[in-house]
Assembly symmetry: C2
Homo-oligomer: 256 residues x 2
């Protein structure tokens, strides 16, 4: 039987240690093709590049079948990989390993997760992996076992239609990881704290910064799992409809 | 009683006819503050600007209380408006009117809708409006009545917590609009067709293009409503968890 084709991407850029570790982990499982951004694309959400053209540049990355850096967003990488590099759907798409958590509301801002969501939209079993350590020199090796297990599960069992996985891994030594929890996205948001400065010509500018605010502590959530040293897996869908709200809105009266 | 404060933004840029019409429509309803991108930001999804600083520039737009162009994304505009311009939450956030449909899967790529989703995340009643006409010279006037009615409903009744509205308006004469339907997001996606070219130095580049593929024709969906000349309203949530999938995933076995 031929090896499965595994597409690897991320949002921290193709040079990031997180994707280099993920590539190594995936080489044990299949034939790896990399299409990843040529520069950091954190916080790009589900952006696509339509105002300018996109470039692909072939790279040599040991152990991979093919590897490219892409001038576009993580979502562009997935679209280009399927259409112009593979000319078919891969058997698995993995994105990451992100330097930093994508739990709770971070899923919505994350380029890592948007790549996985785009994969799900194309009916590809897709997983975003993140480690709760923002540092460039974060240690990804303790993630190897669980990342490979989750990827193997997705390869052998597939994933339900319309769903990808948001996997977050606590940055603790491997022997301290308590297990795996299937969770829901915790309620939380970012409290903005723009850093307001003046440039040398006296003009104002702002740096976006902020603090994450967690609004609940239910043991059903990804944030609870991570704080308790579990790996969290949230199934993520791209149907954004708030189905439960439709009946109440249907009572609104319009004069058309 | 003081007039409600209405924040207006979009993704086509502050100069687009769509936002200029929306500003005019909102001036009948409250005190209008505009913070909108200084250039087109279509397809930016939920991107935020973290790799570079953001600038705000004050503009004069007739009828508004205050207006700014912002160098960031639509989501940046909302965050800056609340934190640095208003120093409070507006009573209503409206985004658009987008030049072109944001029905079905387009909600996920749309900067217009991401601004509204960001508003909902900040507990602001928020609505994204789109007209199904991509042209710069689209006629927005037939939308006035329904846009004002929906905005008035949201101002007087509020919106359920955690939800914003994705409103799409068919580009037909006002007397042909059949009514308003509360819908779910239709199943569909984009089939990519990258336009592959060579630059004058012989290097490859790609333009992202594609064709929208509708996968169903249920009368519960926004696409059906629009094709039938109804205004579609989809309640949109930012909890991306596929709650219905959690039980089946919980059967996966891990060796940790």
């Amino acid at each position: 039987m031929s090896k499965p084709i595994i597409l690897v991407t991320n949002d921290d850029g193709v040079m990031a240690p997180g994707i280099r570790n993920l590539i190594n982990f995936m080489c044990d499982l299949g034939q790896v093709v990399v299409v990843a951004p040529d520069k950091p694309q954190s916080g790009m959400g589900h952006a696509v590049t339509i105002e300018k053209p996109i470039r692909l540049e072939e790279l040599h990355i040991e152990g991979t079948y093919r590897a490219y850096s892409c001038s576009g967003t993580p979502v562009d990488c997935v679209k280009l990989a399927v259409t112009k590099v593979l000319h078919r759907k891969p058997d698995l798409l993995v994105s990451g390993i992100n330097h930093g958590s994508n739990a709770s509301i971070n899923v919505i801002y994350s380029g890592t997760m948007s790549a996985a969501i785009e994969g799900a939209m194309e009916s590809i079993p897709s997983i975003g992996f993140s480690l709760t350590d923002y540092r460039l020199d974060a240690n990804f090796l303790p993630s190897k076992n669980i990342v490979q297990q989750i990827a193997r599960n997705a390869l052998t069992q597939g994933l339900p239609s319309g769903v990808c996985l948001n996997v977050n891994i606590p940055a603790v030594p491997e022997n301290e990881i308590k297990g795996v929890r299937i969770c829901r996205q915790a309620k939380g948001n970012w409290r903005e704290e723009f850093d307001h400065r003046k440039d040398p010509r006296g003009r104002d500018y702002y740096w976006l910064t902020g603090t994450f605010q967690l609004h609940e502590n239910s043991s059903e959530t990804d944030e609870w799992a991570l704080a308790s040293k579990f790996v969290s897996i949230v199934p993520v869908q791209f149907d954004f409809t708030a189905h439960q709200i439709i009946p109440s809105l249907s009572k609104w009266q319009f004069n058309v």
